[in-house]
Amino acid sequence: MSKEFVFRGRAWVVGDDIDTDMIYHGSYLPLTDPKEMAKHALEYVPGMEDFVERVQPGDILVTGKNFGCGSSREHAVITLQYNDVAAVIAESFSRIFYRNAVNLGFPILEVPDITEEVETGDELEIDANTGRIRNVTKGIEVRGTSLSGLEKEIMTAGGLFGYLKAELQAEE
Amino acid sequence: MGQTFAQKILARKAGLEEVEPGQIVTVQPDKLLTHDNTAAIAKIFREIGVERVARPEINVIVLDHVVPAATEGHATNHQQIRRFVEEQGITHFYDVGEGICHQVLPEKGHALPGYLIVGSDSHTPTHGAFGAFAAGIGRTEAASVMATGEIWLMVPHSFRVVVKGGLPKGVYSKDIVLYIIGDLGADGADYRSVEFAGPVVEEMSIASRMVLCNMAAEMGAKAGVVEPDEKTRSWLTGRTSADFQEVFADPDATYERVIEYDVTELDPQVARPHTVDNMVPITEVAGIRIDQAFIGTCTNGRLEDFRVAARILRGRRIAPNTRLLILPASREVLLAALADGIIADLVTAGAVVLNPGCGPCLGAHQGVMAPGEVTLSTANRNFKGRMGCKEAEIYLASPAAVAASALTGEIADPREFL
């Protein structure tokens, strides 16, 4: 992941209400090894069954509304992270997915109507600091919510434990 | 010359005056029992090229192994069986929830004295407790019985096991049969028909006799049998309208072995990992830490088993970090235990009461162990990996011993709790 939150990569576009069972099915919940978790990313999203075979490092997932609704499972973030997906851009995120992503330092951006501006395979340039997204393939630019505040601090630290490190060490 | 139980029943089925051990006869079984493996059997059956089951009236199908379905695979398997049942017009079908096939078969009046029963399950000998000749067969054989309605069987040699003496407090039919298996060895009765007799067996309830016959499989026997008596008849009353003819061994029958056991001094027994004949008195293993205590299965999942467990557990609480699993063998058993207040007692003591079925016994769900864990179980097998984990250990004992051990968190002598 780029600590600078600037990425360039190929887009995969999926629809609204992609729930956590689609991202990472409940039957794999007992897994605790992230590499094993990575084998099941998006397996239950219709049309994305072979995602893990086709995804390239740095690819960007573009989704509709309410991405990650459902379970609290952090596996949903980890499975994308361990497939080297660079970021998820969604029209909106479900709250636990949002938190989990922040806490794991996994870049997420909210951009209204993004699925109307991007097709699978388009080349995207993202600057999460400003919320600017350029669709290189289509030659258009859109703006979303920029990364800021506490969430950015946590993500810059590489996640919640990175952020808490100073505090935890100070206690000792 | 006198004939054993096995000779008489097989001769009669074969339409012969008499048969000798080693002789091969072709017979028509009265019942063919299959369970969750019915779909696999149906597949073989179709591969033979046959379309219709020859005698659908003999088929008894009970879904018990993984119920309700624990995975999509199990769900699909059950679905295929339901379709097969419908397509073949099989009427004796018991869907998920009825109980373990070896309990449901007799409860529904399909295990009767003088019957020849074959089943695609190794514990089919259980039905010998009703005076039937009941043997486990393979899937391919089961498919061929479906196709032809017949089966060839070799007339087995027979053992007569005579149990005498007075059964001490805290010692049960499970301890007797574990002791016998320990004595004879896990292959000690290979291919044999084992007749259980003697005053102690005569005194036993039907449930306790089922324990003996069920575990005949663990000494390698083809069949185990207790000849029918008034208890059998009374148990079967109201369960069947079928005609049946009781069969008894001739008093002058020739046995390969006649073995006598006096149980007056018998201690509660425990089978240690990983074979059923790895037997010791419980006093030798008392104190071994257990993670899980399991009372149930086709061996010891009946009312009398839960009664004794409840007697020990009532008003007490199981040990911390110990799980107690209760698995009634059937809907009928569960209802009786509920009516008796036993279920309430067990739950209050900290037990998990599972829905009737095979549950964790075969390691498919509902109580699989972690590596390094130990279960003390009332089941019939303690093979490595049997309960789903190869790095775990299973000890076998009576329901009383398992209940006592759940209280202490270690293998405990039930006599101290009775």
């Binding site: 239950y44 | 929830g97 998990v352 829905n355 964790p360």
Partner: protein
């Protein structure tokens, strides 16, 4: 400056800051809970980050094993074992093992959930405890591990929507129907991340079970939490269990709400959420007649005694028998519920009707346990999610209240209770 909403008050109280919607605050936790799902990941993360460092407060950690209880696979058995070992090592006293039931309900029954408290847990339906005015919320493993280490966590103070109901409705409509009604009316893009506060006579008259039903599905509304102000009888119920008197947190009269909505539920009729989304809600009568293969009564949404009682009464009233082609799986939420149901004779009603009553816990709802569906199977469930394929690839699920579920089980097709 305007007054505060419930969430602003609770987070102010727990952070020492003047918490206002939109702020990021670090709040003290009253309880950080893991299940057997998520729990092992938390343990691993904790140990990876902090090694042997003692947890912040073992009394404020709870473990509840409800996801797969008892374990179906070695992996889960091992995960549960890892949690138990962590609990022993860190002196965590509150381990509710596989015999306890659904975590949130168990904690509530044990007096560990107080109005105004802040609780996190590895369960997206943690927020159902908003039913008693507690701010409880589902979190990922990193959050909970950090909570175990430090006793506090960052929160984005949500904006609040005040939702007031009016009107009256009669049986067979229930709290579930009110919940589904709300799901069908709201725009999730407005409720996402929001705290909801529920008011009005229809809410005041809900029992604890009904309140839990509504609050449990705030997750499906994409809300962060849904608060129902506990009445005196609920405060007494909690107080008795907690061993201390408890008070409700009320919003200020001039609290600033993002929006205020009012819904009239006069004449509410039984509703059902159709595949594949909880908000795809229709009147039951519109889909009546749809053939079903399985019915599930239970879950953190509708697994209380009251829910089982309604279902048993409908079952009884409609003939007392489940349709032959239907599997009915009934799961009490907790041991306490199970015991009440046993004592009230509900187990007997269900089991005699042909149902399978499983041990307490999440059962079918968390997949992998107790009735997974085959391709093409149709389920009516009292749970809270019907996402595509959640309970078996190629299966379909409808969500309804217990009365409709029971009626459907009897008829074998989606039906209204008679």
């Amino acid at each position: 400056m305007s007054g505060k909403t419930i969430i602003e008050k609770i987070l102010s109280e727990h952070s020492g800051a003047d918490a206002r919607a939109g702020d990021r605050v670090w709040a003290d936790l009253d309880l950080a809970v893991v299940r057997d799902f998520g729990g092992p990941n938390v343990v691993l993360e904790y140990e990876k980050q902090l090694g042997d460092k003692p947890v912040w407060d073992p009394q404020k950690i709870a473990m509840t094993f409800d996801y797969q209880a008892p374990a179906k696979v070695v992996l889960v058995a091992n995960n549960q074992r890892a949690c138990r070992q962590f609990a022993v090592k860190h002196g965590v006293p509150h381990v509710f093992d596989v015999n306890a039931g659904i975590g949130q309900h168990v904690l509530l029954e044990h007096g560990m959930v107080l109005p105004g408290g802040v609780i996190i847990g590895t369960d997206s339906h943690m927020n159902l405890l908003g039913a008693v005015g507690s701010f409880s919320t589902g979190m990922g493993t990193t959050d909970v591990a950090a909570g175990w280490a430090t006793g506090r966590l960052w929160f984005r103070v949500p904006e609040t929507i005040k939702i007031t109901f009016k009107g009256e409705y009669d049986y067979p409509a229930s709290a579930k129907d009110l919940t589904l009604f709300l799901l069908s009316k709201i725009d999730k893009s407005k409720t996402i991340y929001k705290s909801l506060e529920f008011y009005g006579q229809p809410i005041d008259s809900l029992s604890l079970a009904g309140r839990l039903t509504l609050a449990s599905m705030v997750t499906e509304m994409e809300g962060k939490i849904g608060f129902i102000t506990p009445n005196q009888s609920i405060l007494d119920w909690i107080g008795e269990r907690a061993g201390r008197s408890v008070e409700a947190v009320l919003p200020d009269e001039d609290a600033a709400y993002k929006e205020e909505w009012e819904f009239d539920v006069s004449g509410l009729e039984p509703l059902i959420a159709c595949p594949d989304n909880p908000d795809n809600v229709k009147p039951v009568r519109e889909v009546a007649g749809t053939r079903v293969d399985e019915v599930f009564i239970g879950s953190c949404t509708n697994g209380r005694f009251e829910d089982l009682k309604v279902a048993a009464e409908v079952l009884q009233g409609m003939g007392g028998k489940v349709a032959p082609h239907v599997r009915l799986v009934v799961t009490p939420a907790t041991t306490e519920v199970a015991m009440e149901a046993v004592e009230a004779g509900l187990y007997e009603t269900f089991i005699k009707a042909g149902a399978m009553v499983t041990n307490q816990g999440c059962s079918l709802c968390t997949i992998g346990h107790h009735g997974v569906l085959a391709e093409g199977d149709v389920l009516v469930s009292t749970g809270n999610r019907n996402f595509r394929g959640k309970l078996g690839k190629g299966s379909q699920a409808y969500l309804a209240g217990p009365a409709v579920a029971a009626a459907t089980a009897v008829k074998g097709e989606i039906s209204l209770p008679e």
